[in-house]
């Protein structure tokens, strides 16, 4: 116990006497240059999709949805139409590209990978935010 106390005192003395190191004289200048560049790039940031193209895409989706749910709405329910459309798409694939055979396992695998990627992105984002927060 005495030895530990002595050692603590010795290390205290050593660490308190250890001189602080100083970086090169232009250190702050270099950091501030990088910060200025960073600030400019942040100011020049533009989203990948402009608001105009987002609105056009939403409009087209709306028109497509409207078309889908209004045609023959009197004869068949909307849900049935969606299923019909999906099965039509499947037959379209099998007639146009007969060599493209996707097994159920493969489609499940693709789905599982998609979910995992999304989950990992979420976990990593949290990890890095926590690390620097």
């Amino acid at each position: 116990m005495d030895k530990d106390k002595e050692l603590e005192r010795l290390v205290d003395k050593m660490m308190e006497e250890a001189p602080l190191e100083t970086p090169s004289s232009n250190f702050t200048y270099v950091v501030m240059q990088e910060v200025t560049k960073l600030q400019q790039s942040m100011a020049e940031y533009k989203p990948v999709m402009s608001m105009q193209s987002i609105l056009i895409a939403l409009g087209m989706l709306g028109i497509f949805g409207f078309y889908l749910f209004t045609t023959n709405s009197a004869t068949t329910p909307a849900e049935g139409q969606v299923i019909q459309l999906l099965s039509d798409a499947k037959s379209w694939f099998s007639t146009k590209m007969p060599q493209l055979q996707i097994s159920k396992t493969f489609s499940y695998m693709i789905g599982a990978i998609g979910i995992m990627v999304c989950f990992q992105a979420f976990v990593l984002k949290r990890y890095f935010n926590k690390r620097w927060a």
Partner: protein
């Protein structure tokens, strides 16, 4: 080692005042650089890592919640950046095996250090810290930068206070063993008897 200066205005930095950020850099650059050089043992690398640390600080200052001291938060970023660099270059993280230092030997080493002239003493201490593993060096450096506040140091290293205490105890022992190897037997004999 204590640095008592005005705290930089974080709100001003977040509002785009880069001049205020340069105040922060000037205030912490020596401390961050010291952590980096003691961990990485290389001046050029330490300078790069210290610069990276401040860029990361600037980028993530908006995430600083203020529940820890600003200094602890900056040390944490510096420590993580250093460890990333150590891992990137696959540098040795392991500690060297140590022999137990006897109680009398500790006292003799203390007296031997006291007997040295200041420059010689500073050079010996520097050589000893240089021989510590990156993690031990960072741990001891941060403990003394945090004014021996175990909780703040544990926060900076993202450890529980108990783990930090055990690691600190082992690091002290290793530094003691390194000092014993560094000091020539004649030095201990001539100064050590106190």
């Amino acid at each position: 080692m204590k640095q008592t200066k005005n705290q930089p205005d974080i709100a001003a930095i977040l509002n785009g005042d880069t001049q205020e950020f340069s105040v922060l850099v000037d205030q912490y650059k020596d401390l961050v650089f010291t952590v980096a050089i003691r961990t990485l043992k290389n001046r050029e690398e330490a300078e790069e890592v210290a610069q990276d640390t401040f860029i990361k600080v600037f980028k993530s200052l908006k995430n600083f919640k203020g529940d820890a001291k600003l200094s602890s938060w900056i040390y944490r970023i510096a420590y993580n950046t250093c460890l990333d660099r150590v891992k990137k270059h696959k540098k040795e993280l392991k500690n060297m095996p140590i022999d137990e230092v006897r109680s009398e030997a500790v006292m003799e080493m203390g007296n031997a250090l006291d007997g040295m002239v200041m420059q010689e003493r500073a050079a010996t201490i520097k050589r000893c810290i240089q021989q510590l593993s990156p993690v031990d060096a960072a741990l001891l450096t941060l403990f003394y930068f945090e004014e021996k506040d175990l909780k703040e140091m544990a926060k900076a290293l993202n450890l529980s206070p108990n783990t930090a205490k055990v690691k600190l105890f082992r690091a002290r022992n290793r530094l003691g063993a390194i000092l014993k190897n560094q000091l020539e037997p004649e030095t201990i004999q001539s100064y050590g008897q106190g």
